[in-house]
Symmetry: C2
């Protein structure tokens, strides 16, 4: 990353990478793992190995094209391993790499917290809408 991006880091941590700087490559990685389908794909794979169509059913609502793009990006980042076996018909399984497991662990902690807070979020939305937004 460039030194401008480094200098913009205002925290007291001595970081090589900083997602708050737009030119830092770690921002792209964060976008892959938190993107619309990235987070759900990694979260699903934390629990199990999946074939493509199984994964598509688990990540309810994802299109074939978007799941394919998501898996490619995560495979290139070294978070997902694509295991293709030369059987007839060919069998392709997707599973997390050790690094992918760790990132998925952080994501699942966030996902479970969001699910557990949803009643509170809905109550906040109701209050906000009752006030006519603002």
């Amino acid at each position: 990353m460039d030194t401008t991006a480094r200098a913009e880091d205002t925290t007291d941590r001595d970081l090589a990478y900083n997602v708050f700087a737009r030119s830092c490559p770690s921002r792209s990685t964060l976008e892959h793992v938190t993107g619309r389908w990235g987070a759900l794909t990694l979260g699903a794979l934390h629990d199990s190995t999946f074939r493509f169509n199984e994964l598509r059913r688990r990540v309810d609502g994802v299109s074939e094209k978007m799941l394919s793009q998501t898996l490619h990006a995560l495979e290139r980042d070294g978070l997902v391993h694509r295991d293709a076996r030369p059987t007839n018909p060919p069998r392709v399984d997707y599973r997390l790499t050790p690094l992918g497991e760790q990132i998925a662990g952080h994501l699942l902690a966030l996902i479970h917290f969001v699910e557990g807070s949803q009643d509170e979020v809905i109550e906040a939305q109701r209050r906000y809408d009752d006030l006519g937004g603002r």
Copy 2:
């Protein structure tokens, strides 16, 4: 949420909400907190209260319009508090609510892990590209 979405939950947890079901309201919340600008906005506010333009500088690359939309969604979800003081000129500060602090804590754990893993990600990308994708 509807009972179909409940029935689709294949984990062994007894969940009222399930982000893997497309109709579950917790999926929208997850999208707000992990979206392109939501994660960075919450991460930035974890460290400090910000005025709008300060926050815009911290979340490098966000447009005025996108930051405004992001803050509105997070305010409606009860994660960000907008504190407008009737001074002249008016002063508006943004800070996290207690629920927002907890979600931002999970996000920062993920962000710091992603930043700390970036060398490994770059090495994986290099290997992938050297093989000509696949």
